[in-house]
């Protein structure tokens, strides 16, 4: 076999054994990295959209909280006015309940009367509340 005939055969073998897989590998890597970077871009865009949505919801929430606080303050002031008009101002916190104090005073009085009453005239019922 002459060397002139061997050269194309070697070149072909080299092309088939070495270059073709390298090219195929390079193409695959290129394809995958392209796809990855496309996915990354999509994810970043989605994250940006989500962050924007969260910021928007946060702002709305703060606005609603402020509005609720305003409404509660308004309701409180209206209730105070109604109560003042109907029953006088509510007792300050920490003070004893005036209804209970009034009952207790009457119970005390009934018990003092009981102690003062004569045992001989005691068939009548005594109201203790």
């Amino acid at each position: 076999m002459t060397p002139a005939l061997l050269v194309p055969s070697l070149a072909l073998k080299y092309l088939l054994v070495v270059s073709a897989p390298w090219f195929a590998g390079a193409a695959a890597v290129g394809f995958l990295s392209g796809r990855q970077s496309a996915e990354n871009a999509t994810r970043r865009a989605r994250e940006a959209r989500q962050e924007a949505a969260v910021a928007r919801l946060l702002a709305q929430n703060q606005a609603l909280a402020a509005r609720l606080e305003g409404l509660q303050a308004e309701a409180r002031s209206q209730a105070d006015v109604t109560q003042d008009a109907a029953t006088g101002p509510a007792p300050p916190p920490g003070k004893p309940d005036s209804t209970k104090t009034s009952f207790l005073k009457r119970i005390l009085q009934a018990n003092l009367d009981l102690r003062d009453s004569s045992p001989d005239t005691s068939q009548e019922p005594l109201n203790n509340g």
Partner: protein
Amino acid sequence: MANIYHAGIDLGTSRSSIATSTGKRLTVASCVGYCKDLIARKRFGRDYLLGAEALAHRLALDLEWPLADGVIREDERSMQATRLILRHLIAQTVPERQAGDALYAAIGVPAQASLRSKKILLEAARPLVDKLLIVSEPFAVAYALNRFDECLIVDIGAGTTDLCRMHGSFAEDEDQVTLITAGNFLDAELTKGILKKYPEVQLSPQIVKLIKEKYGYVYDVAEPVKVILTSHGIPGEYDLTEILHNACLELTRPISKAIQALVGSFDPDFQEALRNNILIAGGGSRLKGIDRAIEKSLQAYGGGRASCVNDAEFCGCMGALNMCEDMPDDYWEQL
């Protein structure tokens, strides 16, 4: 430094309860059993037994129910028995009380208890407490529930049923009613009904009470109540469904009538509110369906709504305890 303890006490015909500022609560049967003879005394190592223990050994004891009439009976023995019950309740729930410590208590009595019976109670409790308030039982219930607005308290005890009309201010005489139609009346009706249908059956007050507490009901639909009783010592199953139902209805009729009397004599603008806020307390509130039975019996008078309190056993003494704790110091000083 001396401590001040508070106690709310419900001295009941059948059971007595206490709730104290130490957080402890206790209920005992309101009975004292004195040893019949030396043999019994040697057996128990004491002169008397109290509550459930006395009931369990009643054959060897002379049982005393000092509050059988709803209030303390007017004899020395009943006074002494009441003191023993009170001493036991206090000792069990305020064990940390030392000499020098003070105990301020409130004791519930029937709404229309006489002045005399209240004075006897004061006398009985004097050696055991430093300051004492006597309060109406249904009012104590209202205080426990924090219900001072338009409502009607029905406290069904063993000796009495007490009704109290609340209207945001102090309840006066005309706002309160005491009926003797209560738990003991039901026991008597039940005994009568059973013996009428089964004359040979052997009953004791404890057996009747157990039947009532376990099966007592007042609504129209119920499971058959079949109980094992003895006749000449031979056990047998007896159907008490109808008897129990009729006896329980005998209890609710006069209560509904009294409710209507209190509603009917109230300010017409508030009658509906009163009729629709009926709160049932006391041992009788445990009868199954009593709220519905009272509602049903009120239909003839224009209807109404009734409900039972959650803590029937301690509601009254919790109210009395709350009163003690809310009472200002200068009020106590006046007693």
